[in-house]
Protein backbone atom coordinates (compact mmCIF):
# COMPACT_ATOMS: atom_id res chain seq x y z
CA UNK A 1 0.00 0.00 0.00
CA UNK A 2 1.45 3.40 -0.94
CA UNK A 3 2.32 5.59 2.09
CA UNK A 4 -0.06 8.37 1.02
CA UNK A 5 -3.01 5.98 1.02
CA UNK A 6 -2.07 4.73 4.49
CA UNK A 7 -1.95 8.29 5.77
CA UNK A 8 -5.26 9.13 4.13
CA UNK A 9 -6.99 6.11 5.66
CA UNK A 10 -5.53 6.97 9.06
CA UNK A 11 -7.11 10.39 8.62
CA UNK A 12 -10.45 8.68 7.96
CA UNK A 13 -10.03 6.77 11.24
CA UNK A 14 -9.22 10.01 13.09
CA UNK A 15 -12.32 11.72 11.65
CA UNK A 16 -14.46 8.77 12.74
CA UNK A 17 -13.09 9.12 16.29
CA UNK A 18 -13.89 12.83 16.33
CA UNK A 19 -17.42 12.39 14.95
CA UNK A 20 -17.98 9.48 17.34
CA UNK A 21 -16.90 11.43 20.42
CA UNK A 22 -19.01 14.39 19.31
CA UNK A 23 -22.10 12.19 19.13
CA UNK A 24 -21.43 10.87 22.61
CA UNK A 25 -22.52 14.34 23.74
CA UNK A 26 -26.27 13.71 23.62
CA UNK A 27 -28.15 10.64 24.79
CA UNK A 28 -30.10 10.34 21.53
CA UNK A 29 -26.99 9.94 19.36
CA UNK A 30 -24.57 8.49 21.89
CA UNK A 31 -24.90 4.82 21.00
CA UNK A 32 -24.33 5.46 17.31
CA UNK A 33 -21.43 7.72 18.23
CA UNK A 34 -19.75 4.88 20.05
CA UNK A 35 -20.24 2.61 17.05
CA UNK A 36 -18.76 5.25 14.73
CA UNK A 37 -15.75 5.55 16.99
CA UNK A 38 -15.46 1.75 16.99
CA UNK A 39 -15.55 1.78 13.19
CA UNK A 40 -12.64 4.23 13.31
CA UNK A 41 -10.74 1.74 15.44
CA UNK A 42 -11.39 -1.06 12.93
CA UNK A 43 -10.22 1.13 10.05
CA UNK A 44 -7.03 1.99 11.95
CA UNK A 45 -6.32 -1.69 12.72
CA UNK A 46 -6.93 -2.91 9.15
CA UNK A 47 -4.93 -0.11 7.57
CA UNK A 48 -2.02 -0.95 9.87
CA UNK A 49 -2.17 -4.63 8.92
CA UNK A 50 -2.41 -3.89 5.18
CA UNK A 51 0.44 -1.44 5.47
CA UNK A 52 2.64 -4.01 7.22
CA UNK A 53 2.18 -6.43 4.33
CA UNK A 54 3.77 -9.85 4.78
CA UNK A 55 3.95 -10.37 8.53
CA UNK A 56 3.95 -12.89 11.34
CA UNK A 57 0.22 -13.53 11.47
CA UNK A 58 0.43 -16.13 14.24
CA UNK A 59 1.48 -13.48 16.73
CA UNK A 60 -1.06 -10.94 15.51
CA UNK A 61 -4.07 -13.23 15.29
CA UNK A 62 -3.12 -14.93 18.56
CA UNK A 63 -2.81 -11.60 20.37
CA UNK A 64 -5.99 -10.13 18.90
CA UNK A 65 -8.05 -13.23 19.67
CA UNK A 66 -6.78 -13.60 23.24
CA UNK A 67 -7.12 -9.88 24.00
CA UNK A 68 -10.58 -9.56 22.46
CA UNK A 69 -11.84 -12.67 24.21
CA UNK A 70 -10.62 -11.45 27.60
CA UNK A 71 -11.93 -7.91 27.02
CA UNK A 72 -15.33 -9.00 25.73
CA UNK A 73 -15.85 -11.58 28.46
CA UNK A 74 -15.14 -8.99 31.11
CA UNK A 75 -17.25 -6.32 29.38
CA UNK A 76 -20.29 -8.50 28.87
CA UNK A 77 -20.29 -10.13 32.29
CA UNK A 78 -19.53 -7.12 34.49
CA UNK A 79 -22.36 -5.79 36.63
CA UNK A 80 -23.39 -2.19 36.08
CA UNK A 81 -22.49 -1.38 39.69
CA UNK A 82 -18.90 -2.46 39.05
CA UNK A 83 -18.53 -0.21 36.03
CA UNK A 84 -16.01 2.23 37.57
CA UNK A 85 -13.46 -0.46 38.38
CA UNK A 86 -14.08 -2.05 34.98
CA UNK A 87 -13.13 1.18 33.22
CA UNK A 88 -10.11 1.53 35.52
CA UNK A 89 -8.93 -1.98 34.67
CA UNK A 90 -9.37 -1.64 30.89
CA UNK A 91 -7.68 1.72 31.02
CA UNK A 92 -4.73 0.25 32.90
CA UNK A 93 -4.18 -2.30 30.16
CA UNK A 94 -4.25 0.43 27.51
CA UNK A 95 -1.52 2.28 29.41
CA UNK A 96 0.38 -0.99 29.83
CA UNK A 97 0.28 -1.58 26.07
CA UNK A 98 1.76 1.88 25.41
CA UNK A 99 4.51 1.18 27.94
CA UNK A 100 5.33 -2.15 26.26
CA UNK A 101 5.51 -0.57 22.80
CA UNK A 102 7.92 2.07 24.09
CA UNK A 103 9.97 -0.60 25.88
CA UNK A 104 10.13 -2.88 22.83
CA UNK A 105 11.29 -0.02 20.62
CA UNK A 106 13.96 0.96 23.14
CA UNK A 107 15.25 -2.59 23.58
CA UNK A 108 15.44 -3.09 19.82
CA UNK A 109 17.59 -0.01 19.36
CA UNK A 110 19.65 -0.93 22.43
CA UNK A 111 20.40 -4.38 21.04
CA UNK A 112 21.34 -2.96 17.68
CA UNK A 113 23.71 -0.63 19.56
CA UNK A 114 22.29 2.27 17.59
CA UNK A 115 22.44 5.84 18.68
CA UNK A 116 18.89 7.14 19.20
CA UNK A 117 18.01 10.66 18.08
CA UNK A 118 17.32 13.00 21.03
CA UNK A 119 13.64 13.71 20.18
CA UNK A 120 12.93 9.98 19.84
CA UNK A 121 14.59 9.01 23.08
CA UNK A 122 12.78 11.83 24.89
CA UNK A 123 9.29 10.79 23.79
CA UNK A 124 10.27 7.18 24.46
CA UNK A 125 10.92 8.05 28.13
CA UNK A 126 7.56 9.83 28.26
CA UNK A 127 5.66 6.88 26.80
CA UNK A 128 7.41 4.53 29.26
CA UNK A 129 6.75 6.73 32.29
CA UNK A 130 3.16 7.73 31.52
CA UNK A 131 2.26 4.22 30.36
CA UNK A 132 3.71 2.63 33.50
CA UNK A 133 2.05 5.13 35.87
CA UNK A 134 -1.28 4.51 34.10
CA UNK A 135 -0.89 0.74 34.40
CA UNK A 136 0.02 0.50 38.09
CA UNK A 137 -2.17 3.45 39.13
CA UNK A 138 -5.22 1.96 37.41
CA UNK A 139 -4.61 -1.42 39.02
CA UNK A 140 -4.55 0.22 42.47
CA UNK A 141 -7.74 2.16 41.63
CA UNK A 142 -9.31 -1.13 40.57
CA UNK A 143 -8.18 -2.86 43.78
CA UNK A 144 -9.60 -0.04 45.91
CA UNK A 145 -13.00 -0.03 44.20
CA UNK A 146 -13.21 -3.83 44.05
CA UNK A 147 -12.41 -3.73 47.77
CA UNK A 148 -9.38 -5.95 47.36
CA UNK A 149 -7.73 -3.34 49.57
CA UNK A 150 -9.06 -0.59 51.80
CA UNK A 151 -10.89 2.23 50.06
CA UNK A 152 -9.69 4.70 52.65
CA UNK A 153 -6.62 6.79 51.86
CA UNK A 154 -3.33 5.21 52.90
CA UNK A 155 -1.10 7.94 54.27
CA UNK A 156 2.10 8.21 56.27
CA UNK A 157 4.37 11.01 57.43
CA UNK A 158 6.52 12.52 54.70
CA UNK A 159 4.46 10.86 51.97
CA UNK A 160 4.51 13.88 49.67
CA UNK A 161 8.26 14.19 50.21
CA UNK A 162 8.87 10.54 49.29
CA UNK A 163 6.72 10.84 46.17
CA UNK A 164 8.46 14.07 45.19
CA UNK A 165 11.88 12.51 45.69
CA UNK A 166 10.91 9.45 43.66
CA UNK A 167 9.65 11.70 40.89
CA UNK A 168 12.92 13.65 40.84
CA UNK A 169 15.00 10.44 40.65
CA UNK A 170 12.72 9.28 37.83
CA UNK A 171 13.20 12.53 35.91
CA UNK A 172 16.96 12.30 36.58
CA UNK A 173 17.21 8.77 35.15
CA UNK A 174 15.11 9.69 32.12
CA UNK A 175 17.21 12.81 31.60
CA UNK A 176 20.39 10.74 31.78
CA UNK A 177 19.02 8.47 29.06
CA UNK A 178 18.20 11.50 26.92
CA UNK A 179 21.63 13.16 27.12
CA UNK A 180 23.70 10.00 26.76
CA UNK A 181 24.79 9.04 23.26
CA UNK A 182 24.20 5.30 23.28
CA UNK A 183 21.11 3.75 24.94
CA UNK A 184 21.75 2.61 28.54
CA UNK A 185 20.00 -0.45 29.92
CA UNK A 186 20.35 0.46 33.62
CA UNK A 187 18.42 3.75 33.51
CA UNK A 188 15.85 2.06 31.25
CA UNK A 189 14.99 -0.55 33.87
CA UNK A 190 15.20 2.12 36.54
CA UNK A 191 12.68 4.34 34.74
CA UNK A 192 10.19 1.52 34.20
CA UNK A 193 10.47 0.25 37.79
CA UNK A 194 10.25 3.67 39.41
CA UNK A 195 7.33 4.75 37.19
CA UNK A 196 5.41 1.60 38.19
CA UNK A 197 6.10 2.31 41.87
CA UNK A 198 5.12 5.97 41.41
CA UNK A 199 1.74 4.97 39.94
CA UNK A 200 1.04 2.88 43.06
CA UNK A 201 2.19 5.58 45.48
CA UNK A 202 0.21 8.34 43.77
CA UNK A 203 -3.12 6.50 43.96
CA UNK A 204 -2.66 4.98 47.47
CA UNK A 205 -3.39 8.20 49.41
CA UNK A 206 -6.57 8.96 47.44
CA UNK A 207 -9.85 7.91 49.05
CA UNK A 208 -12.50 5.83 47.32
CA UNK A 209 -14.88 8.80 47.09
CA UNK A 210 -12.40 10.59 44.86
CA UNK A 211 -11.70 7.57 42.67
CA UNK A 212 -13.88 8.81 39.76
CA UNK A 213 -11.64 11.83 39.36
CA UNK A 214 -8.58 9.62 39.48
CA UNK A 215 -9.93 7.16 36.92
CA UNK A 216 -10.81 10.00 34.59
CA UNK A 217 -7.32 11.43 35.04
CA UNK A 218 -5.67 8.04 34.46
CA UNK A 219 -7.84 7.77 31.36
CA UNK A 220 -6.30 11.01 30.22
CA UNK A 221 -2.82 9.64 30.97
CA UNK A 222 -3.42 6.52 28.88
CA UNK A 223 -4.39 8.83 26.00
CA UNK A 224 -1.22 10.85 26.40
CA UNK A 225 0.81 7.63 26.65
CA UNK A 226 -0.71 6.48 23.35
CA UNK A 227 0.12 9.87 21.79
CA UNK A 228 3.72 9.59 23.01
CA UNK A 229 3.90 6.10 21.49
CA UNK A 230 2.69 7.76 18.30
CA UNK A 231 5.67 10.11 18.51
CA UNK A 232 8.02 7.14 19.01
CA UNK A 233 6.85 5.18 15.97
CA UNK A 234 5.94 8.33 14.02
CA UNK A 235 2.27 7.55 13.54
CA UNK A 236 -0.29 10.36 13.26
CA UNK A 237 -3.47 8.48 14.13
CA UNK A 238 -1.98 7.53 17.49
CA UNK A 239 -1.07 11.15 18.16
CA UNK A 240 -4.52 12.49 17.22
CA UNK A 241 -6.57 9.87 19.06
CA UNK A 242 -4.24 9.94 22.06
CA UNK A 243 -4.38 13.72 22.35
CA UNK A 244 -8.20 13.70 22.05
CA UNK A 245 -8.49 11.25 24.94
CA UNK A 246 -5.80 13.10 26.87
CA UNK A 247 -7.67 16.41 26.86
CA UNK A 248 -11.10 14.79 27.22
CA UNK A 249 -9.96 13.07 30.42
CA UNK A 250 -8.61 16.28 31.91
CA UNK A 251 -11.81 18.20 31.10
CA UNK A 252 -13.93 15.46 32.62
CA UNK A 253 -11.77 15.41 35.76
CA UNK A 254 -12.19 19.16 36.08
CA UNK A 255 -15.96 18.94 35.64
CA UNK A 256 -16.02 16.44 38.50
CA UNK A 257 -13.81 18.54 40.76
CA UNK A 258 -16.01 21.55 40.07
CA UNK A 259 -19.06 19.56 41.13
CA UNK A 260 -17.36 18.86 44.45
CA UNK A 261 -16.13 22.44 44.68
CA UNK A 262 -12.56 21.27 45.11
CA UNK A 263 -9.38 21.71 43.17
CA UNK A 264 -7.69 18.90 41.30
CA UNK A 265 -4.62 19.34 43.52
CA UNK A 266 -6.80 18.90 46.60
CA UNK A 267 -8.26 15.69 45.19
CA UNK A 268 -4.85 14.26 44.30
CA UNK A 269 -2.89 15.28 47.38
CA UNK A 270 -5.56 16.07 49.98
CA UNK A 271 -5.99 12.46 51.26
CA UNK A 272 -9.71 13.24 51.49
CA UNK A 273 -11.62 10.97 53.85
CA UNK A 274 -8.57 9.80 55.78
CA UNK A 275 -9.86 10.48 59.28
CA UNK A 276 -13.38 10.43 60.58
CA UNK A 277 -13.79 14.08 61.46
CA UNK A 278 -17.05 15.01 63.00
CA UNK A 279 -16.50 18.69 62.36
CA UNK A 280 -17.46 21.25 64.99
CA UNK A 281 -20.79 19.68 65.67
CA UNK A 282 -20.26 16.25 67.10
CA UNK A 283 -22.99 13.67 66.75
CA UNK A 284 -22.78 12.86 70.43
CA UNK A 285 -25.92 13.48 72.39
CA UNK A 286 -28.06 13.67 69.27
CA UNK A 287 -30.53 10.96 68.45
CA UNK A 288 -32.00 9.82 65.22
CA UNK A 289 -35.63 8.88 64.65
CA UNK A 290 -36.29 5.64 62.84
CA UNK A 291 -39.40 4.72 60.90
CA UNK A 292 -40.77 1.34 59.85
CA UNK A 293 -41.66 0.43 56.28
CA UNK A 294 -45.32 0.04 57.32
CA UNK A 295 -45.59 3.57 58.72
CA UNK A 296 -43.67 5.10 55.88
CA UNK A 297 -45.78 3.33 53.24
CA UNK A 298 -48.85 5.30 54.36
CA UNK A 299 -47.05 8.62 54.00
CA UNK A 300 -45.69 7.59 50.64
CA UNK A 301 -49.00 6.35 49.28
CA UNK A 302 -50.56 9.81 49.63
CA UNK A 303 -47.52 11.87 48.60
CA UNK A 304 -48.00 14.15 45.61
CA UNK A 305 -44.42 15.18 44.96
CA UNK A 306 -41.63 12.72 45.58
CA UNK A 307 -37.92 13.05 44.90
CA UNK A 308 -35.55 10.10 44.97
CA UNK A 309 -31.91 10.78 45.79
CA UNK A 310 -29.87 7.72 44.87
CA UNK A 311 -26.32 7.07 46.02
CA UNK A 312 -23.69 4.40 46.04
CA UNK A 313 -25.61 2.42 48.67
CA UNK A 314 -28.33 1.83 46.10
CA UNK A 315 -25.73 0.42 43.75
CA UNK A 316 -24.30 -1.88 46.40
CA UNK A 317 -27.73 -3.18 47.34
CA UNK A 318 -28.65 -3.56 43.62
CA UNK A 319 -31.85 -1.74 44.57
CA UNK A 320 -32.36 0.31 41.39
CA UNK A 321 -35.09 -2.02 40.08
CA UNK A 322 -37.05 -1.85 43.36
CA UNK A 323 -36.64 1.94 43.39
CA UNK A 324 -38.22 2.16 39.96
CA UNK A 325 -41.00 -0.25 40.88
CA UNK A 326 -41.85 1.86 43.91
CA UNK A 327 -41.77 5.02 41.79
CA UNK A 328 -44.13 3.42 39.25
CA UNK A 329 -46.49 2.54 42.06
CA UNK A 330 -46.51 6.10 43.41
CA UNK A 331 -47.13 7.47 39.93
CA UNK A 332 -50.01 5.06 39.39
CA UNK A 333 -51.55 6.51 42.54
CA UNK A 334 -51.23 10.02 41.12
CA UNK A 335 -47.97 11.23 42.64
CA UNK A 336 -45.07 12.64 40.66
CA UNK A 337 -41.61 11.16 41.07
CA UNK A 338 -38.33 12.75 40.08
CA UNK A 339 -34.81 11.49 40.52
CA UNK A 340 -32.26 14.02 41.72
CA UNK A 341 -28.76 13.11 40.62
CA UNK A 342 -25.77 14.69 42.31
CA UNK A 343 -22.84 15.03 39.90
CA UNK A 344 -20.61 12.89 42.10
CA UNK A 345 -23.18 10.44 43.45
CA UNK A 346 -21.80 6.92 43.21
CA UNK A 347 -18.23 6.28 42.37
CA UNK A 348 -18.20 7.62 38.87
CA UNK A 349 -19.81 10.66 37.26
CA UNK A 350 -23.16 9.62 35.90
CA UNK A 351 -22.88 6.28 37.70
CA UNK A 352 -26.47 6.63 39.00
CA UNK A 353 -27.75 7.51 35.54
CA UNK A 354 -26.37 4.26 34.18
CA UNK A 355 -27.84 2.19 37.02
CA UNK A 356 -31.27 3.77 36.73
CA UNK A 357 -31.15 3.39 32.97
CA UNK A 358 -30.48 -0.29 33.59
CA UNK A 359 -33.69 -0.38 35.63
CA UNK A 360 -35.54 1.18 32.66
CA UNK A 361 -36.02 4.60 34.22
CA UNK A 362 -36.34 7.01 31.26
CA UNK A 363 -33.46 9.48 31.38
CA UNK A 364 -35.79 12.47 31.10
CA UNK A 365 -36.93 11.72 34.66
CA UNK A 366 -33.43 12.16 36.00
CA UNK A 367 -32.64 15.73 37.02
CA UNK A 368 -29.28 17.38 37.55
CA UNK A 369 -28.66 19.10 40.85
CA UNK A 370 -29.14 22.63 39.50
CA UNK A 371 -32.42 21.75 37.78
CA UNK A 372 -34.07 20.18 40.79
CA UNK A 373 -32.56 21.79 43.88
CA UNK A 374 -35.22 24.52 44.24
CA UNK A 375 -38.00 21.95 44.14
CA UNK A 376 -37.14 20.17 47.37
CA UNK A 377 -38.87 22.85 49.44
CA UNK A 378 -42.31 21.92 48.11
CA UNK A 379 -41.63 18.21 47.93
CA UNK A 380 -43.73 15.97 50.18
CA UNK A 381 -41.28 13.12 50.56
CA UNK A 382 -37.65 12.81 49.71
CA UNK A 383 -36.18 9.31 49.64
CA UNK A 384 -32.45 9.22 50.19
CA UNK A 385 -31.41 5.76 49.03
CA UNK A 386 -27.85 4.97 49.97
CA UNK A 387 -26.61 8.53 49.49
CA UNK A 388 -24.75 10.27 52.28
CA UNK A 389 -22.14 12.95 51.66
CA UNK A 390 -24.07 14.51 48.74
CA UNK A 391 -26.97 15.42 51.07
CA UNK A 392 -24.95 16.52 54.09
CA UNK A 393 -26.05 20.05 55.12
CA UNK A 394 -22.74 20.50 56.95
CA UNK A 395 -21.23 21.43 53.62
CA UNK A 396 -23.29 24.64 53.67
CA UNK A 397 -22.56 25.84 57.17
CA UNK A 398 -19.77 24.00 58.93
CA UNK A 399 -16.47 25.56 57.86
CA UNK A 400 -14.52 22.91 59.78
CA UNK A 401 -16.09 20.06 57.82
CA UNK A 402 -13.90 18.48 55.13
CA UNK A 403 -16.78 18.71 52.68
CA UNK A 404 -17.49 22.37 53.43
CA UNK A 405 -18.38 24.19 50.22
CA UNK A 406 -19.39 21.15 48.20
CA UNK A 407 -22.75 21.85 46.54
CA UNK A 408 -25.34 19.40 47.87
CA UNK A 409 -28.86 18.28 47.08
CA UNK A 410 -31.33 20.07 49.37
CA UNK A 411 -32.85 16.89 50.75
CA UNK A 412 -33.11 18.51 54.19
CA UNK A 413 -35.56 21.09 52.82
CA UNK A 414 -38.20 18.53 51.84
CA UNK A 415 -41.28 18.27 54.09
CA UNK A 416 -40.24 14.76 54.97
CA UNK A 417 -36.96 13.09 54.34
CA UNK A 418 -36.43 9.36 54.76
CA UNK A 419 -32.92 7.98 54.66
CA UNK A 420 -32.39 4.35 53.67
CA UNK A 421 -29.31 3.21 55.49
CA UNK A 422 -27.70 0.01 56.64
CA UNK A 423 -26.33 1.41 59.89
CA UNK A 424 -25.15 4.70 61.35
CA UNK A 425 -21.67 4.39 59.81
CA UNK A 426 -20.21 7.54 58.26
CA UNK A 427 -20.19 8.01 54.49
CA UNK A 428 -17.36 7.33 52.11
CA UNK A 429 -15.81 10.68 52.90
CA UNK A 430 -15.70 9.72 56.58
CA UNK A 431 -17.87 12.67 57.65
CA UNK A 432 -20.74 12.68 60.12
CA UNK A 433 -24.02 13.66 58.45
CA UNK A 434 -26.18 16.30 60.18
CA UNK A 435 -29.16 15.49 58.00
CA UNK A 436 -29.83 12.31 59.97
CA UNK A 437 -30.47 14.30 63.14
CA UNK A 438 -32.86 16.86 61.67
CA UNK A 439 -36.50 17.11 62.81
CA UNK A 440 -37.91 16.22 59.43
CA UNK A 441 -35.63 13.25 58.87
CA UNK A 442 -36.48 9.63 59.59
CA UNK A 443 -34.14 6.70 59.18
CA UNK A 444 -35.26 3.46 57.57
CA UNK A 445 -32.58 1.01 58.66
CA UNK A 446 -31.73 -2.14 56.75
CA UNK A 447 -30.71 -3.30 53.30
CA UNK A 448 -32.06 -0.83 50.75
CA UNK A 449 -33.35 -3.55 48.45
CA UNK A 450 -35.23 -5.34 51.25
CA UNK A 451 -36.64 -2.06 52.59
CA UNK A 452 -37.87 -1.02 49.16
CA UNK A 453 -39.46 -4.42 48.50
CA UNK A 454 -41.25 -4.17 51.84
CA UNK A 455 -42.43 -0.66 50.97
CA UNK A 456 -43.72 -1.81 47.60
CA UNK A 457 -45.89 -4.50 49.13
CA UNK A 458 -47.07 -2.16 51.90
CA UNK A 459 -48.00 0.66 49.50
CA UNK A 460 -49.97 -1.82 47.41
CA UNK A 461 -52.09 -2.59 50.48
CA UNK A 462 -52.84 1.03 51.38
Amino acid sequence: MPPWLTQLLYLVAAVLFIVGLKRLNTPATARRGNLISGAGMLVAIFVTLLDLGQVNYTVIIGGVVVGSALGLTAALSVQMTAMPQMVALLNGFGGGASMLVGAAEFLRLYQAGEEIATPTVTVMQLSLIIGAVTLSGSLIAFAKLQELMTGRPITYAGQQFVNGLLFLVLVGLAGWQVVTEVPLIGPFYGVVALALVLGVLLVMPIGGADMPVVISLLNSYSGVAAAMTGFVINNEVLIIAGALVGSAGVILSQLMCKAMNRSLANVLFGAFGAVVTAGKKSAEGLTVKSITAEDFAIQLAYAQKVIVVPGYGMAVAQAQHQARELADLIEKRGGAVKYAIHPVAGRMPGHMNVLLAEANVPYDKLYDMDEVNDEFADTDVCLVIGANDVVNPASRTDTSSPIYGMPILNADRARMCVVFKRSMAAGFAGVENELFYRDKTWMLFGDAKASLSKLISEVKQV
Partner: protein
Protein backbone atom coordinates in the same frame (compact mmCIF):
# COMPACT_ATOMS: atom_id res chain seq x y z
CA UNK B 1 12.75 11.05 14.25
CA UNK B 2 13.97 14.22 12.52
CA UNK B 3 13.36 17.63 14.03
CA UNK B 4 10.88 18.53 11.28
CA UNK B 5 8.91 15.34 11.86
CA UNK B 6 8.90 16.12 15.58
CA UNK B 7 7.57 19.63 15.00
CA UNK B 8 4.79 18.36 12.73
CA UNK B 9 3.91 15.75 15.37
CA UNK B 10 3.82 18.45 18.06
CA UNK B 11 1.53 20.59 15.88
CA UNK B 12 -0.86 17.66 15.39
CA UNK B 13 -0.76 16.84 19.10
CA UNK B 14 -1.48 20.42 20.15
CA UNK B 15 -4.37 20.96 17.74
CA UNK B 16 -5.91 17.59 18.67
CA UNK B 17 -5.68 18.51 22.35
CA UNK B 18 -7.70 21.68 21.77
CA UNK B 19 -10.16 19.74 19.65
CA UNK B 20 -10.63 17.28 22.53
CA UNK B 21 -11.44 20.14 24.91
CA UNK B 22 -14.07 21.49 22.50
CA UNK B 23 -15.61 18.06 21.96
CA UNK B 24 -16.05 17.31 25.64
CA UNK B 25 -16.79 20.79 26.99
CA UNK B 26 -20.58 20.58 27.24
CA UNK B 27 -21.49 16.99 27.94
CA UNK B 28 -24.45 16.48 30.31
CA UNK B 29 -23.57 14.59 33.53
CA UNK B 30 -25.92 11.78 32.40
CA UNK B 31 -23.35 10.79 29.83
CA UNK B 32 -20.19 11.22 31.87
CA UNK B 33 -19.73 7.52 32.59
CA UNK B 34 -20.34 6.30 29.01
CA UNK B 35 -18.18 9.13 27.73
CA UNK B 36 -15.33 8.22 30.04
CA UNK B 37 -15.65 4.61 28.99
CA UNK B 38 -15.97 5.54 25.29
CA UNK B 39 -12.90 7.78 25.44
CA UNK B 40 -11.10 4.99 27.26
CA UNK B 41 -11.84 2.67 24.31
CA UNK B 42 -10.34 5.24 21.93
CA UNK B 43 -7.13 5.26 23.98
CA UNK B 44 -6.81 1.61 22.91
CA UNK B 45 -5.56 3.10 19.60
CA UNK B 46 -2.18 2.11 20.95
CA UNK B 47 -3.11 -1.26 19.34
CA UNK B 48 -1.71 0.26 16.13
CA UNK B 49 1.67 0.67 17.81
CA UNK B 50 1.46 -2.84 19.26
CA UNK B 51 0.72 -4.35 15.83
CA UNK B 52 3.62 -2.52 14.20
CA UNK B 53 6.00 -3.61 16.94
CA UNK B 54 4.87 -7.24 16.99
CA UNK B 55 4.55 -7.84 13.27
CA UNK B 56 7.48 -5.93 11.89
CA UNK B 57 10.83 -7.62 11.43
CA UNK B 58 12.28 -6.23 14.64
CA UNK B 59 13.71 -9.22 16.48
CA UNK B 60 12.32 -11.56 19.12
CA UNK B 61 12.09 -9.05 21.99
CA UNK B 62 9.77 -6.86 19.93
CA UNK B 63 7.74 -9.90 18.93
CA UNK B 64 7.27 -11.05 22.54
CA UNK B 65 6.61 -7.64 24.05
CA UNK B 66 4.49 -6.79 21.00
CA UNK B 67 2.35 -9.87 21.55
CA UNK B 68 1.64 -8.90 25.17
CA UNK B 69 1.00 -5.33 24.03
CA UNK B 70 -1.55 -6.57 21.46
CA UNK B 71 -3.34 -8.59 24.13
CA UNK B 72 -3.44 -5.60 26.50
CA UNK B 73 -4.52 -3.13 23.84
CA UNK B 74 -7.20 -5.43 22.43
CA UNK B 75 -8.63 -5.91 25.92
CA UNK B 76 -8.87 -2.15 26.14
CA UNK B 77 -10.41 -1.81 22.66
CA UNK B 78 -12.84 -4.74 22.67
CA UNK B 79 -13.78 -4.39 26.33
CA UNK B 80 -14.05 -0.61 26.13
CA UNK B 81 -16.39 -0.46 23.15
CA UNK B 82 -18.50 -3.40 24.34
CA UNK B 83 -18.99 -2.00 27.82
CA UNK B 84 -19.84 1.47 26.47
CA UNK B 85 -22.37 0.01 24.08
CA UNK B 86 -23.94 -2.00 26.90
CA UNK B 87 -24.39 1.16 28.94
CA UNK B 88 -25.73 3.28 26.11
CA UNK B 89 -28.19 0.59 25.03
CA UNK B 90 -29.97 1.17 28.34
CA UNK B 91 -30.50 4.91 27.88
CA UNK B 92 -34.08 5.40 26.82
CA UNK B 93 -36.70 8.13 26.86
CA UNK B 94 -40.36 7.44 27.51
CA UNK B 95 -41.00 7.67 23.75
CA UNK B 96 -38.37 5.16 22.72
CA UNK B 97 -39.60 2.81 25.40
CA UNK B 98 -43.11 2.95 24.02
CA UNK B 99 -41.91 2.29 20.48
CA UNK B 100 -40.31 -0.98 21.50
Amino acid sequence: MSTEALIIAIVIFTLSTFLGVELIGRVPPTLHTPLMSGANAVSGITIVGALIIAAGDRGWISTYLGFVAIVFAMMNVAGGYAVTDRMLAMFKTKETEKKQ
